[in-house]
Subunit: 480 residues, 2 copies
Amino acid sequence: MSLKNARELGSFFNPESIAVIGVSRESMSFGGSSFLHHWLKAGYSGRLYPINPKATEVLGLKAYPSLRALPEVPDLVMVAVRADLVPAALTECADVGARFIHVLTAGFSEIGTPEGRELEARLAAIAKERNLRIIGPNCMGPYSPASHLTAWGGIPGLDGRLGIISQSGGVTQRFTEYISSLGVGVSKAASIGNAAVLDSPDFLEFMAGDSDVDLIAVYLESIRDGRRFFDLARRVTPRKPIILLKGGESRRGAATVSSHTGRMAGDPVIWKSVFEQTGIVPVTNLQEWVDACLAFSLLPKTRGKGVFIVGGGGGNSVIFSDACIRAGLEVPTLTDRSMGRIRPFVPVAGSIAGNPLDFWGTYLVNDFLFEALNAAYEDDSIHMVVVDRLIPRIAFHSPDLTSDSFAEIVEFIQSRRQAKPTVFTIDYDGGDSDLIRQGSDLRARFCRAGIPAYPSFERAIGALARFYRYCRRFGHAAGR
Amino acid sequence: MSLKNARELGSFFNPESIAVIGVSRESMSFGGSSFLHHWLKAGYSGRLYPINPKATEVLGLKAYPSLRALPEVPDLVMVAVRADLVPAALTECADVGARFIHVLTAGFSEIGTPEGRELEARLAAIAKERNLRIIGPNCMGPYSPASHLTAWGGIPGLDGRLGIISQSGGVTQRFTEYISSLGVGVSKAASIGNAAVLDSPDFLEFMAGDSDVDLIAVYLESIRDGRRFFDLARRVTPRKPIILLKGGESRRGAATVSSHTGRMAGDPVIWKSVFEQTGIVPVTNLQEWVDACLAFSLLPKTRGKGVFIVGGGGGNSVIFSDACIRAGLEVPTLTDRSMGRIRPFVPVAGSIAGNPLDFWGTYLVNDFLFEALNAAYEDDSIHMVVVDRLIPRIAFHSPDLTSDSFAEIVEFIQSRRQAKPTVFTIDYDGGDSDLIRQGSDLRARFCRAGIPAYPSFERAIGALARFYRYCRRFGHAAGR
């Protein structure tokens, strides 16, 4: 695909008109009608055309019997008819000159039958012969909050600078709403399913050239042209990090890939080597994916792997230190100068002055926290900071902990423009609904204020370790 | 310590009277008074004696000038005076014949000074000379919901069959309230801090012989008599699983250990070998600790490592399969008989009939879920089941998902007495407060009904992998 062709894919994300072939008058279950319903709800401002030969109106929109009957050539056509009717729908698209098509329908190569494979081959052949650009089949298609094109995932969605390319509709939906709910917005997401025509390299090339995208998150099960993906990734990663969740690394996972998107998952050894040679950042599950995207989206670059740990208590200071080392980071001894600043306000008994810094005062009095952070920001051995933030709990014998010092902390960190990457951890897991409400609320507020906050120390460190390795490799370009 | 001496430690957890040396009349900050306050609040029904030479009453309780002035010898004395006053307090205990003592006070060997070490040596010498049983110093002491002895951790606490031994007060508090909030109760917890007199092997021996304890969770930073711990653990693990969070495995973590509890962490290579030779179950953080305790507390034993995965969607089916394999478990192909039962109700397109089973119907219609579970329970290749339970979300285009089928699911699994270990996963992480509320509530309800539920698939699989390895080794004794 030429560069011109890659740019052209932008049409999927900013259509001025959309026709939907395959809408039901009654059912609002998953399909053409539910997409129309969600586009309307999300405030999509372009023209929507339901195509149904038996209806005059669907969801208050004028319905048309066919594409031919439309007053214009739609920028995007969504095809949601039964699998065996898809080829005819595609031919109709080509006949009227509609070239950008999303095939929602499932039932192609992923069902594992000769018929399914044959149907997918026909789809690809029509696309080639008639020069159609097709996303799918078996996928959720394009998503773009800036265009109010948000029928799935975060609805109405949050505009931002993240690009997503994914072979799973369900995973992309969840990922999109998950990261949006933490304040990191999405520029464009492409759920590409079986990727019979347009494949991940096509969208990677498009997003590489898209000035609205800074960071690319990819969920991949398989790939047709591995060499092209590899060459592209090597060019893209130094400028825009690619965070990749690869499904099907195990033989069993690979077997499931063939039932899901009808393709081959590829050798995990090859993929490992691809990660090493391209600088793609690998993750293994949804949580790691979101955690890394938070760090890469919000943090300034780090110049090293020295972590300063604040708070958490004595036992956690030990456990957290272990976690840093296990993840390949360091917990350096503070300089004498830093110790000289910290020691005066940390009691000798029941606390630990140093790194980790275990001192209840950092929860209770912001000035203690700020003095510790200032010392760390000026300490050359420290490159990143993790602050453990407990939630007020009566079981900790500290009724004073109820004051909300959030705004002041955010202001302090923002005023220093995150001098060094600084993240928070807030542990609220379990079955205590009050703790969960307070903790998750605090976490979301930190994230939305541009400060990554994680529900466990290990998850914070996992994200920081990935971020550090990326910065070490592409230092000049990394970070916000 | 003899077996008789070990049994004697039960006195710490069921005292009929407690004296507290070191209570303030005014301050309710952490210390003797806040412990009294919490015992009163928790409904402790024994006799409480504040010792304060200047007060006549503390928190509505009659105060006494000294232990000598008490009307009886208290079963337990808590010492919360300044570190340098501790030796005199211990001597006073010995003089009146009080032998079970919890030293809350910090400022001993953990502060790293000759004075601190010397003070701790004096404490140990007095204990030896006067035959005192001391928990501490620098710790939260005993905790026992059945005795309403819950001044920290879950308050009022949930009685149960878990025993906890820990060198970190903060970690034990959080762990105790965390696991209690999920419906798994604690029989006894001992926060032992610097463990200058009574050490982890003493409490391990005690809990090994305690018929109220089925499962032992240990947080250890260091150990004096490693051989004794090893020999005990080897005897205990076949009957009662020991789940151990070892702090200080890295050199940096070990350095922090010495600031926290004033001791040496021991060689991680040795610890690894201890785990292998004893069958102790190692975990590396608080979440893994709780996750494993849920599985070990609630599940019947597993006879193999074959996992049946239900729900989650296509992409998650791939990612979850990978996670099982990575954790050392298997995702077996179902037998023809099972497939014959499942295939009729799973649509060919958009779903996957098999293992994983990806079918929306299992969320929507309980009968589909039950039929799949029944097939798995009768399939010899399947040993454990993980059901992914999505929360109703409009973004998934399924307005029907709002019905609450929880009660019926619980009844189904309970009526089969968990024929094979069956756990649920509910992903609600992020910043969507409504999703968090619904998801965490559902999770807690499952756990409290005796069905382990985890906030991510990886965490469920981590717990099941540990459980499987334990059952493989000690098959005859494992499980509920």
